[in-house]
């Protein structure tokens, strides 16, 4: 069975002066850090890949792996099935390597360049371990490289490895060789192949058997340099019976050019292990006329490899001019569980085509999808999701809920659910709603003393609550504010 349903956007109200009106959301992370960078020239060819590999001092097998991916990428075509429109990307006009030049390679966090430290302070992320009260370990990545990881020693005592992926390639090659590209093969898709060829950094996590990671692990990605693409690669392995909660956040300066971000994230959950992966994506969305912004083409996939394992994706997507992203779970182990909770906000001319894939292979596997799309301005917001139940996945269960909320009458919300079921004992449910912020709701709030902005924030947060509840406490409040800021000025 295969279905494709499209719900066209519905105009929500005719009253010109009330619900219409776009926009004036200020992006507050749009500053540029003035720091010298060590960069590769623009363009993409084998030499650039050799350059990156050499910069990273990588072993020969790693370079070979990259070149193989590059050879494959050259034969591939950029996908065009998503519900997004953009000018062709000139892959030769991008710099594939840019590292902030630090006078000496930091031996410890204290030696990080003060300018960079300031950047992260402005972003509300302190690299100062002592001052951190929230109990969150951070790996900070600027452009192409990781500039430091906090709480490394404390985590090390439990046998947890949390470091940049470059470091892992040097220090833990056996783990990299065993797991890298086992979930997202280098040939998987156009952007993942590109990533494999040119990725420059990212995070690596290994949680040993039976260990429950005592703090949230997080990576903060920052694009700083101009004309640079960011291609990070993250690999998280939760060994038998372990647990980890991981969060990533992202921002970028405001620029008129579009910048490309093509990341790959792979998660591996062994028997009885659980990985919770949360994203607050706030890349620069472009200005109110749709100029500039990040092109966010990301491949995220996890495998529930062992029985009784669980992978849960939570994402709050407010940034980027284009978001193309489908965090997925391969439910291979029996009784394994996959979850996807998403809030995607688009405003002005932003476009998002996002959703998930739940692939049921094992018996008694369960998946749950909760997607909340909020569109405003002239934006387009699409949910695209695949639920696949294979022949042997007896008693598989899926529940999907896709809700769209429209603000104004010039934006669009679309739902593309794909369902493929090959086992008759399975049960798949899909529910979808489309609603609007009504004039009645706003007037009701106004009459209780709230201005329209406050009212919209309340209504939006109510709409997105089921997903926000999944976020770790430390980030839930921040994410709520972000939702409100992203939609500022979208209702007049």
């Amino acid at each position: 069975m295969k279905t494709e349903i499209e719900k066209p956007a519905r105009p929500i109200h005719d009253s010109e002066d009330y619900l219409e009106q776009a926009i004036q959301a200020e992006y507050k992370y749009g500053f540029v850090t003035d720091i010298e960078a060590d960069e590769a020239p623009k363009g993409l060819n084998e030499n650039i890949i050799r350059f990156i590999s050499a910069k990273k001092n990588e072993p020969a097998w790693m370079l070979e792996w990259r070149l193989k991916a590059f050879a494959h990428w050259q034969k591939m075509k950029e996908p065009n099935w998503a519900n997004i429109k953009y000018d062709p990307i000139d892959y030769q006009d991008i710099k594939y390597y840019s590292a902030p030049k630090q006078k000496i390679k930091p031996g410890s966090l204290d030696e990080i360049d003060p300018e960079l430290r300031k950047t992260f302070e402005k972003l509300g992320i302190s690299l100062d371990e002592q001052k951190r009260l929230t109990g969150v370990a951070v790996d900070a990545v600027v452009d192409s490289v990781s500039i430091g990881t906090t709480f490394k020693a404390q985590l090390g005592e439990l046998g947890i490895i949390f470091c940049s992926i470059s470091e892992a390639i040097q220090e833990h090659p056996e783990l990299i060789k065993e797991y890298l590209s086992t979930v997202v093969p280098i040939t998987d898709n156009y952007f993942s192949a590109l990533n494999a060829a040119v990725f420059t950094d990212g995070s690596f996590v290994y949680i040993p058997k039976g260990v429950r990671c005592p703090m949230e692990l997080s990576t903060y990605f920052r694009i700083n340099a101009e004309n640079t693409g960011q291609f990070e690669r993250t690999l998280i392995i939760a060994d038998e019976g372990s647990y980890v909660s991981y969060l990533e956040g992202c921002t970028a300066p405001m620029r008129d050019e579009n910048q490309l971000h093509a990341a790959v994230v792979e998660l591996v959950a062994m028997k009885d292990a659980e990985i919770k992966y949360s994203t607050v994506q706030n890349w620069y969305p472009g200005d109110k006329n749709g100029v500039g912004g990040i092109y966010n083409f990301v491949t995220k996939r996890g495998i529930c490899k062992g029985d009784n394992s669980k992978i849960s994706w939570t994402q709050v997507e407010t940034g980027s001019s284009i978001t193309w992203k489908y965090p997925s779970v391969i439910l291979k182990g029996d009784n394994s569980v996959g979850e996807f909770y998403s809030v995607a906000v688009t405003n002005n001319y932003q476009q998002a085509d996002t959703g998930t894939k739940m692939m049921h292979l094992g018996k008694n596997t369960k998946s749950r999808i909760v997607s909340k799309g909020i569109s405003a301005g002239f934006s387009n917001n699409s949910y695209r999701g695949l639920v696949q139940v294979n022949k042997n996945a007896s008693n598989a269960r899926n529940f999907s809920q896709c809700d769209s909320l429209l603000l104004g009458d010039k934006c669009g919300a679309h739902t593309f659910p794909y369902i493929e079921v090959k086992n008759s004992s399975s049960m798949v449910e899909h529910e979808a709603t489309t609603s609007k912020i009504g004039e009645d709701q706003l007037f009701y709030c106004n009459q209780r003393g709230m201005d329209t902005e406050t009212a919209v924030a309340l209504i939006i947060n109510g709409f997105a609550k089921e997903v926000m509840n999944q976020l770790p406490m430390e980030f839930a409040v921040e994410a709520q504010k972000l939702l409100a800021i992203s939609l500022e000025g979208s209702v007049g």
Binding site: S15, F443, Y444, Q447, N461
Partner: protein, 262 residues
Amino acid sequence: MLKIDNLQAGIEGRKILKGISLDIKPGEVHAIMGPNGSGKSTLASVLAGRKDYEVLGGSVEFLGKDLLDLEPEERAGEGLFLGFQYPVEIPGLSTTNFIKTAVNEVRKYRGEEPLDAVKFLKLMKEKMALMNIDQSLLSRSLNEGFSGGEKKRNEIFQMAMLEPKLAILDETDSGLDIDAIRVVSNGVNKLRNKDNAVLLITHYQRLLDYIVPDFVHVLYKGRIVKSGPKELAYELEEKGYDFIKNEIDAAELADQVAEINK
């Protein structure tokens, strides 16, 4: 407190209120009655500042300010409360959170510090006891899945929390059975004092058995055609709106005939 002078208003080019004048003083309860389509709810909406309605003439003064010049949220800040005939649902937003935001936004307007969680809960407990309202109602999503009676009780509870100077209750009794009317009316009566005022808008006299008005006004075809003490409500109940309608329509007809004969 509220002085309405020759107010004319309409919607989508259609004139509905054709010159309303009304004077409400602190401590008073006024009831506006009238048949369907007479303009009762339009009056409530215009006073609260609903944007689809257009004011075509006249003035409204509220506590010394030009009410028509204020945004809806500013009117709320000044102490005007509208109990809705059809309270809206907001899924996912807890009633408590909604009320807390409302209370603190109104405080902000008045230049007062917001209530912290402890003080807010204390106030809420106090009003819950007074209004005889259950915690479980307040932790649910705002009005979502509420019965008609629960929605109206929630309106009166919000009124208790916001302590308005003037409460306009638009058809608060519509769709309620007699027990629910009693509960809601008790709430309103407990909140009455010498400094605040209530404007009741209702189709039926039965609400006025529970909330006894000082004045009753009959609205018909966008005008107040008759005003009097509470006894007027009984007369209406007894004779129906037809007796007013006939009176007015006969007078109108006589005018028209006189016009033609001239």
